[in-house]
């Protein structure tokens, strides 16, 4: 809240320095901000596009990269066919393009400062993105906080960050990955092939050394409602559950 912050526009230009396809529908765009950009794992940015006629569209996207990553910010953007901003990124945006970006934003769905207990994370589809930032943050700082991630997607090829998540799981350093596929058979021994439910939440939390201090749930509204209720039914207090919903 310094005076200088009020004078400077909160928007800054950021150039696309890398584009990486993650799944058939999700592509990561790496943005190099023009000004220093310090954020917390789990925060999001607003992105603004301007048409020649002056029309502007803005959307919020969660950051996938860890704060420790020097340089570019990774936004993993899912293509929504009837959208106006995500199709621009998927069909038009190229390395070297500049967009306007504002942030970081959001002070609730973020990695806790006190690291007081294990964390349970539940992500549906691209709802995994802010959780990925937290999981990368945990790995980057060699945090000992136990974390279990339950990640629900339709099919194996839609598991965003799949190789990286499996590699982190195999480190056996307190991060546990549980995948559940809703339209395909499970591929790994401990994974599931159904929608999230109470039994799955209970079994996932049993992988933690003690009950979670906080729960993070992110995805579509329907997914978040079901997953949060499953956590509550599995004994998690509603007060420790933080949610982030796409809205629809």
């Amino acid at each position: 809240m310094s005076d200088t912050a009020a004078v400077q526009s909160p928007w800054q230009t950021a150039g696309i320095v890398r584009i990486e396809k993650r799944t058939p529908r999700v592509t990561s765009f790496f943005f190099q901000p023009s000004r220093p950009f310090a954020y917390r794992a789990g925060q999001h940015v607003d992105v603004r596009l301007t048409a020649p006629d002056g029309y502007q569209a803005r959307r919020s996207y969660s950051i996938a990269s860890a704060p420790e990553t020097n340089g570019a910010i990774e936004l993993a953007i899912e293509k929504l066919d009837d959208g106006e901003v995500s199709p621009f990124f998927h069909e038009v945006a190229a390395i070297g393009d500049e967009i306007e970006l504002r942030g970081p934003l959001g002070g609730h769905f973020v990695w806790p400062k006190d690291e007081s207990g294990p964390l349970v994370m539940v992500g549906g589809g691209s709802g995994v993105v802010p959780l990925m930032s937290m999981i990368r943050h945990r790995a980057a700082r060699n945090s000992a906080v136990p974390v279990v991630l339950v990640f629900s997607v339709r099919v194996w090829d839609e598991v965003i960050f799949r190789d990286e998540l499996i590699a982190l799981d195999e480190r056996q350093d307190g991060f546990e990955l549980v995948l559940t596929l809703t339209r395909e058979a499970a591929r790994r021994p401990a994974d599931y092939a159904r929608r999230v439910d109470v039994a799955m939440m209970a079994q996932a939390m049993a992988r933690l050394p003690e009950p979670p201090g906080l729960a993070f749930v992110c995805g579509s509204n329907a997914f978040v409602s079901a997953a949060a209720q499953a956590l509550i039914d599995a004994g998690v207090a509603a007060e420790i559950i933080r949610t982030e919903r796409y809205g629809v």
Partner: protein, 203 residues
């Protein structure tokens, strides 16, 4: 700064640009956003308390609250996540009628709205009175669903919609403008969509 290759061609259609605040787009659906799980508040457990600081002024149960005058309010609403929805039809009790039933004049210029899940948000008294705001009980003529804040939510349609607290259980007069849940987490203290007051440092 014009974005290479971006045009307004994909813009969701609207026949009334003047009703859409800056940076917003028209939404036909009714998106759901909240910071935690959806509380299922039974009307038999519901109550609404009007307070001045820590002191309760009056408390209503569901039946008592529903006996207050019901007013219709159809308004455009604007969410800080950039969607705007036209003509949302609500029915509820005007804050004016709540104050009249309690027999009080606003003792301060500020309020903090409280919800069953612990959520809070601050709204100046002048934005709640003179027919500007209500405690909504019905949406499209039916009880408000839990997703959308039922049994009762605050409706302050001229401010960003995070001010319209879901699962409302009280209104507290405060001696100064006290930031609520999102206002403490980076969002604007007032939240006027027409001035695009989204985040803390916005003018």
């Amino acid at each position: 700064m014009v974005t290479r290759g971006f045009s307004s061609g994909r813009r969701p259609p609207t026949d009334d640009d003047a009703r859409i605040p800056p940076g917003q787009y028209l939404e036909q659906g009714f998106p759901v956003l909240s910071a935690g799980p959806t509380p299922r508040v039974r009307t038999e457990d519901w109550s609404f308390t009007l307070k001045h600081g820590p002191r309760p002024i009056k408390k209503w149960n569901w039946a008592e609250f529903n006996a207050l005058p019901l007013t219709k309010m159809t308004r455009d609403i604007h969410c800080v996540t950039a969607w705007t929805k036209f003509d949302t039809p609500w029915q509820g009790v005007l804050v004016d009628d709540i104050l009249a039933d309690a027999g009080v004049e606003p003792p301060t210029g500020f309020t903090l709205a409280h919800a069953f899940d612990g959520y809070t948000t601050n709204v100046p008294v002048k934005d709640l009175t003179a027919g500007k705001a209500m405690v909504a009980l019905l949406y499209e003529g039916k009880p408000i669903t839990p997703d959308h804040g039922g049994p009762a939510r605050l409706l302050v349609p001229h401010l960003y919609f995070w001010k319209s607290a879901k699962w409302l259980n009280g209104l507290q007069f405060t001696s100064r403008d006290e930031p609520g849940f999102w206002e403490l987490r980076g969002y604007h203290i007032y939240g006027d969509p027409w001035r695009e007051q989204r985040y803390t440092n916005d003018p």
